[in-house]
Amino acid sequence: MEKSKNVSAFWGKEDWQAVWIGFIVILIACIAVLTKAFDFSAVKFSTWAVGESAATKAVPLAQQLGAWVFWRKLIVTVVVLCALFTLGVKLQGESVKKYIPAFLCLFVIALVVRFISAEFTLNRYLEWAFWALLIGLLISNTVGVPDWLKPAIKTEFYIKTGLVIMGFSVLFSNIAKFGLYGLGIAWIVTPIVIIFMWWLGTKILKIDNKPLVITLASATSVCGTSAAIATGAASGAKKDDLSIAISISIIFTILMMVFEPMIIKAVGMNQLMGGALIGGTVDSTGAVVLAGSALGPEAEQVASLVKMIQNILIGFIAFAVAIFFATRVDKTSEKKVGAGEIWTRFPKFIIGFFAASLIASFLIQPIFGGAAVKEINGVLDQYKNWAFVLAFTSIGLDTNFKELAKQMHGGKVLWLYIVGQVFNIALTLFAVWFLLSGVVFDVPVLDLFK
């Protein structure tokens, strides 16, 4: 730890390290895409399937592993991530000799997670966050985590870095994609649901774990896993809190993706309103697109537009949560918290998240065009996912089932989600009726369907 005193906070503190590591990855991706000089893509398993199935998009494993490009990308991924995180660890004053072998082992476990979560059925419904937690939990609760692996378990470091990289994909121009209709449905409802769940969780159900309440509230009202990761980091949620919020959100998303369009069809709601309702209430973006398409092409468009606006909210909600926790939850005395204290407590990675978003929205997109930004995000998305898989595997490795069960607060957390989600659906339904039914305002027509 002595060494870290000689290094400035910007280089030596994990919070700032996440910012500059994230920006190094973003910068290299921008150079690679804009100059076409080299391929910076990270490795990813394509969907594969066991035996004959409905997996029309599945690529046989032998074909994937037999391609040189797979191994080249794997080497690039492990070298880039290992080099950057090791540099961070060194500047934190920790042992590099201990970190490198531990990181490589963690990476191998994360590789197994990504391999399993690329299987057709597992990929379509649960994906990496769930499997990373499960595999980590299985290891830690059966054979146990050896001491030499522990230096690599740096959950917050990986999460914060992933979030800074993710910031580049949040484009502010998307805020007006569905005009005031989209803003009304996505933005009026979301904070009300968060506040309702906060009130329900902390005042009525008396759950004393406030980071868990806010993490679950944002997962419910914004966009599931991504929002939970950002808000969890902003509120200083513990690893168990994040595991619980994400597991609940993932399982319920499967149900909502199938049953919500069924109910909408059964009650005879039109595609415009049905799509907006789905976009505003189903947690994961993939599930929103699929549930919308079950109603029809117009519903799919509207659902995707509303969800895309909600995706922008992640950074703002995380920012508000960070300020709220710094000024109200984490304060030690009744005195008003000063600006200096707020700055000290404020999670700096949020600055990196916003900076990345602003650069993408107001610098790269206007100069190089939307297509270039999409291509850059195609590269960055996999680095973001790798950082999150490392984080979630770390969470699993650092958790035991007993601790996890305790954090359910005797089932209160589940009921907080259920009641919050019902409130979310009811309020979004009202907003959808108010804005899109034609009773109060003109019914908007998407250009594609004119």
């Binding site: 409905a54 979560s117 059925t121 597992l122 990929n123 379509r124 419904y125 649960l126 994906e127 990496w128 993710m166 994909s169 502010f172 007006a176 994609k177 569905f178 005009g179 005031l180 803003l183 904070p191 506040i195 906060w198 009130w199 902390t202 991504s226 993932i250 399982i251 998303t253 499967i254 149900l255 199938v258 994961s284 973006t285 993939g286 599930a287 697109v289 699929l290 549930a291 079950a294 468009q301 995707s304 537009l305 969800k307 895309m308 995706n311 703002f316 508000a320 709220f324 109200r328 939307g370 999409k374 998305d381 005797g410 089932g411 589940l414 009921w415 908007p444 998407l446 250009d447 594609l448």
Partner: protein, 93 residues
């Protein structure tokens, strides 16, 4: 000692959890809700995780006459108002 109310709450919660897990397993087993043409599912948490998302969201999807800055101002005003509401509710006992 748990009261009868607490016991009922626990039993109902367990029943809900079991039902949800069975439903989720049933949906997954039958591949319900998927679209064969799309190479993603509910597991694509974020829009950037969806291959070809730009083809799903068409740029010409909707054109509004309201200026962009109006959206931004309304967005920020509502956010600030809601933050104040959150603080006010949290202060109440």
């Amino acid at each position: 000692m748990a009261t009868t109310k607490e016991k009922i709450f626990k039993v109902v919660t367990i029943l809900v959890v079991v039902t949800i897990l069975i439903c989720a397993g049933w949906i997954m087993g039958r591949h319900l809700g998927l679209v064969p043409e799309y190479d993603f599912g509910a597991g694509a948490y974020y829009y950037a995780d969806i291959p070809g998302f730009e083809n799903i969201i068409k740029d010409e999807g909707y054109h509004t006459k309201v200026p962009y800055w109006v959206h931004v101002v309304l967005f920020l005003c509502w956010g600030w108002l809601m933050y104040r509401l959150w603080v006010w509710i949290d202060k109440r006992k």
